[in-house]
Symmetry: C2
Subunit: 461 residues, 2 copies
Amino acid sequence: MNSLLKSLLTTSNPFNSTGEVLAWIERRNREVEVKVKEVPFSQLRGWGFDAATGNLCHESGKFFSIEGIDVYKNQDRVARWRQPIINQPEVGCLGIICKEIDGVLYFLLQAKIEPGNINCVQLSPTLQATRSNYTCVHGGKRPAYLDYFRSARQDQIVLDQLQSEQGARFFRKRNRNIIIRVDEEIDIGEDFRWLTLGQIKQLMACDNTVNMDTRTVLSGLRFPADGDTCRGLALTDVGHALFASERQIDGQMTIDGVLHRVSELKSRYELIVDKIPLKDVTDWNVSDREIARGDRRFFRVLGVNVTIANREVSTWCQPIVQPMQEGLCVLFAQKRGGVLHFLMQAKVECGNFDVVEFAPTIQCLTGDFRKVATPPPFVRQFVDGAVKGRVLFDTKQSEEGGRFYHEQNRNVIMLLDEDFDIDVPENFLWLTLGQIKEFLRFNNYLNIQVRSLIASLQYVQ
Amino acid sequence: MNSLLKSLLTTSNPFNSTGEVLAWIERRNREVEVKVKEVPFSQLRGWGFDAATGNLCHESGKFFSIEGIDVYKNQDRVARWRQPIINQPEVGCLGIICKEIDGVLYFLLQAKIEPGNINCVQLSPTLQATRSNYTCVHGGKRPAYLDYFRSARQDQIVLDQLQSEQGARFFRKRNRNIIIRVDEEIDIGEDFRWLTLGQIKQLMACDNTVNMDTRTVLSGLRFPADGDTCRGLALTDVGHALFASERQIDGQMTIDGVLHRVSELKSRYELIVDKIPLKDVTDWNVSDREIARGDRRFFRVLGVNVTIANREVSTWCQPIVQPMQEGLCVLFAQKRGGVLHFLMQAKVECGNFDVVEFAPTIQCLTGDFRKVATPPPFVRQFVDGAVKGRVLFDTKQSEEGGRFYHEQNRNVIMLLDEDFDIDVPENFLWLTLGQIKEFLRFNNYLNIQVRSLIASLQYVQ
């Protein structure tokens, strides 16, 4: 059997058991002292408002900035608004090193502290670097393992994709999602552990344990067609169906059929986003304390002073984005014509690179779905328990803790009963897992929320 | 044999022979009187410079506008400049209807007049409509055949792709490239003819005959693997090799290998393009006569009054872009490891949707390659005849005549000798035709110039 498939099916790791990993994360959380103190922008060392534009920028001109955008879109209804957005026009790198040990592929994850995390430490990729990081603008040392990625040969690449970040918060931000395979012995730092894919998926089912970056990188993994070897293994009730559809590309609609629907929606829906000075963003107030709307909707930008005391003490200041509510992302699955399908929503988000991307069936992140007069499709039925099926996954997941402050969103995968009929609006499509993986290869078809859910699919009991 | 493949292999059309089609285009060119008169912007009816921004816009706010961009890029070397650009933030539709007659697929092309065409009439898609066209902003009648595209069912779609336009002239412009198949009888207007794909490819070998829109739409056609049926047919010397590589996806590098290289280049190369007011475009002078640089490089924007006298007279004013030189696009092909490969250049162009797209091996459009001190790779060798091989195709092709004035560029495909070794820079990749077609499906991987060349490949003697 292929070592990737073995990794997926292996949950007992002789080097680090899942229990030990959880205990290790807990210990790291205890050992480390993270102080995140809200400070006024006027005391945010290294940061300031540009006199001409009002944009909140770092004095080096690097890292990121908080700017304004003017948005026009016509999905559902014509809407035009202005809002602050994070502008970070560079491709960061999210990289995972993997290595075959005794026929099983192990992934090297890092217990990483990030200021926005609810629980300080989460499992992150081997390398998680902004371009500023790896060109050392901040004057720090080079990130660990960077050179493995820089010098990787073609045949060491497991996957290498450019994928989008949060489209409502970032202006067309993308990161490179890369997995490389090494054969040689490598030094393992004390913050790092080798884990199997099966283990990582188990850990994803624990609240706020595997960070967003790890989830997006792993979402793109494709498993070789190797059906027979799965027989008799401890797959979940739906594991077999999932495997079948992972290998099978075409469901009820072909890839070309999906591309046709996507072209149609991308030509029908308009999204015009112009960068504007932050000072021209009406409806939002900039005070020394925060950038926020008078009605306290959506999110606010605040300044924080971060101190991490561990073996050594480091301290820095940065702006960070805090959501005004806890979000909800739900992905519906259903066996249709004998094959498991997932219900994708083609969604226009203002920071999208290409008008629409596929989002989860339900994605309520920017506003409080309990309070809006006409909630998005399926929200009311889901909340009221009117959707007939079985919950496969229900976990709180954090957004990236380097930019988002205490943002956790409920992630749910729900398997609908086969005889539960639902009508879907024109921008919803049922895709098989095989199709989803094919679209993942070619970048910018699936948004970060749905990639996170796809990564969380549990195959093994 | 599949009817598309038959169409490709059929050059004798019982309904319209290629000779008749050429005579028909010539007759249409004689019959129609097209007057394109340069007029000062102050007399450009319906158009004017916006007081605040200096942008050249239509009074309806529709169609397109000439605005400014500020560009930063770091490919080759860091460069920053400002330039005018055409902004048309809507997806137009380029559609071709095809129909099977006696087992052969025929494509419905139109003899269309466009003001910028050197020779007035060229063969264009069945439908060539801006969104303004089909929402009738200009108050005209609905374009012919539009409703066939609007009501097409999933199973009638042959291809449906969003593809980029000229990246140095348009700001992230894309058009929908769509081919639909109809079964019913349809009325054929006097400007329309049914042609086989083989015929259209013959006609592409004539200067300025098949317009850019037709070429880009047809470039995405994929032929079913059906090798045996091609034996004994009158294929060109390289026709067999072309067929072999059209069906074979992987050459010396896999699709995932190419995606890896693309991700690497997209993360390394930065392209930051900000829209700015045209009045802030330094180095370019706006007079009543034109928008142009003092040194007369690149292109100029002028105003034209167009009168077309045919059965009825229509007249309108519009800005149009005129290049300062004739361009050169060359695609190198070579049999490598027994499979035909094409040498693609990953190129940053300022209007690109996604940083780099694959361009022809040589693409010299924006400046005069004879005059620059350090011409792009391969230009000097090509011009000096130092590239050893055989020219398969060498034709002057027009850019889109609705926006570009008398722009024709030399399009060359050259088959390098198998033993001719060339070193390629890091941003050049050898792809098979099968790989090229796969990237075409997923949008925005190949630029319009290389799509035009791919469409021109001659399979049949």
